[in-house]
């Protein structure tokens, strides 16, 4: 298998045409490539294996052992029944809906309000701009965990405990979104908007019709990461949601694993419901992700 995975084109790419023609060097290179592919496969097993084992467990029928000496890797009698059972134990569709509402709302607020703030900081000169920028920048070093108790008090005084709006609010317009959008607008040539201004376009029209469409790439990055963060978040929804009817998917999954059902097949099915759509979207958009990490910098 190892030799089969070492593809011929690799050598054609790696070897500069005239300079290196020595045979022993090529052999060493082949060995190196083979070793690298072996390690890559090993890491794939280590990093994907756990997901795969969970998927296999979720497909095993009730009659089949999932532990003990008789356990097999592949389900003897694959079934989707466990996925149906998840819905019997927890209102999983409702949880998915709740998570989706919060995540989509977070994308909208981070993109639009984050862009508005970023635009003002990048393009407008006004008294107090430096202070606002400093406040946004400094908010990045305040971990949510430090203020969560008092954020809860604030949300409670707003009457938003146990509501999805309460879940959304703390992450609705993150400092990071504002900074990414500010950087994007700074990189935009001023001429585009100035031309629009000559044509009599107002401030808002210049932002909405000219500047915003030109930073679609950064908007997509902010959107994707806002969605992911909201969808995956656990600590805050766990704090602010009390009634099991209002749970988001992460809190609901934790709840599922703690309920009377001790059937790992059902818990496994629940985790697959939560993660498979996400992974599917990720593999479809992976280019965007890797660009986003480069652009958005690193989050502390």
């Amino acid at each position: 298998m190892s030799t089969a995975t070492t593809p011929a084109p690799a050598r054609a790419q790696q070897t500069p045409p005239a300079r290196r023609t020595r045979r022993p060097g090529d052999a060493a290179r082949y060995a190196g490539h083979t070793l690298r592919y072996l390690l890559l496969v090993l890491m794939t097993v280590l990093l994907v294996g756990p997901f795969l084992w969970q998927l296999l467990t979720s497909l095993k029928s009730t009659g089949e052992p999932i532990y003990g000496p008789d356990t097999t890797w592949l389900p003897a009698d694959p079934t989707l029944g466990n996925f149906g059972k998840v819905a019997e134990v927890i209102p999983v569709w409702r949880y998915i809906g709740n998570s989706a509402i919060v995540a989509v709302a977070s994308v909208v607020t981070n993109c639009i309000f984050g862009a508005m703030a970023g635009y003002a900081l990048a393009r407008m000169r006004f008294r107090g701009r430096g202070a606002v920028f400093a406040a946004v920048l400094a908010s990045l070093v305040v971990p949510f965990e430090v203020i969560m108790v008092n954020v809860f008090l604030t949300v409670r005084s707003l009457g938003l405990v146990d509501t999805l709006l309460g879940v959304l609010l703390p992450g609705a317009i993150s400092g990071l979104s504002i900074l990414v959008m500010r950087t994007a607008f700074l990189a935009l040539p001023k001429e585009t908007e100035e031309a629009a201004a000559m044509d009599g376009a107002g401030e808002w029209a210049r932002f909405w019709r000219v500047a915003l469409p030109s930073v679609r790439g950064s908007l997509a990055v902010v959107g994707v990461f806002s969605f992911l963060f909201a969808w995956d978040d656990f600590l805050w929804p766990l704090i602010v949601l009390k009634n099991p009817d209002n749970f988001t998917l992460t809190v609901g999954l934790q709840y599922l694993s703690g309920t009377f059902t001790n059937d790992q097949r059902v818990v496994a099915a629940g985790t697959m419901i939560a993660v498979v759509p996400l992974l599917a979207v990720f593999f479809a958009l992976q280019r965007l992700f890797f660009r986003g990490i480069g652009e958005g910098g690193v989050k502390g």
Binding site: Q14, H33, R36, Y37, L40, M43, T44, L47, P50, F51, Q54, Y67, F113, G114, M116, A117, A120, L121, M124, F126, R129, V132, V141, V142, E145, V146, I147, M148, V149, N150, V151, F152, T154, L169, I173, I178, A197, E203, W231, D232, D233, F234, L235, L238, T250, V251, L253, Q254, S257, T271, A274, V275, L279, F282, Q286, F290, I293, G294, V298, G300
Partner: protein, 294 residues
Amino acid sequence: MIGRRWYVPWLFLTPALIVTAAMTWGPLANTGVLAFTDAQALGGGEFTGLANFSRLAHDDQFFRALGNTALYLAVVVPALVLLPLLLAQLVHTKLPGIGAFRAVFYSPVIASMVVVGLIWSWLLSSDGLVNAVLLKLRVVAEPLPFLTDSTLLLLSCMLVTVWKGLGYYMVIYLAALANVPGELHEAARVDGAGAVRRFRSVTVPTVRPTMLLVGTLAAISATKVFAEIYVMSSGTAGPGGQAKSIVYYIREVGLGVDGEIGYASAMSLVLFVGTLGLSVLALVLRRRGERSEA
């Protein structure tokens, strides 16, 4: 530029300012004030000076949580500085199919910690796959109590943190490796340096700023560890609640029905001092890294 009314920028900033003020700066100021009071979830709030802090100094549970968190840092940070660098080195090549491998290695980052925690709870349970393999290989005679012994539980959580974080830091390292001049490697190779030697003498010195950055980032996030412990112990923090982290303990103290807001705020301030130190370090290192790249 064209004349504009003074309030226009503020209209653009209003939503962001309201949310940041209400959800970050207000609560932070509140934390700073309430830390010096005996505020409870249901009222109270007399100024008590440093009483909360002297109580902290004698709180065994707090020191337990502090120790657990420190242990977490001590294991997770070196692992997350070194392993993702090796992984990045592995995928820093133009071999066919490498893009797919990079994406695959990143996939644990995408998943929620709850999903990852539940997956590993199943793998590490006494009936789980890991114990089955260990038993089969006769490494152990009895299943190891990965989730029901507090020390092993913490180690299991660390494993999960590292497993989930590998891809994230790998990508940061990849960006840094792109700046390592290829000629340097080629020269070292010609001089007969082996792969290990080249890694130590060429790669590590050039990515050292990034290693420091990754170290501080991993440290900040390890200081705030919560979800791993909560999920892997089904919300019990291990037998007798011995595996609590600082954030775990803050949540328990401050957000129960009879939440001691003042005491939890005091603990939050202590946590803040720790993360702030690390954040400042990260900022300094990042700036220095950018300068050396330019």
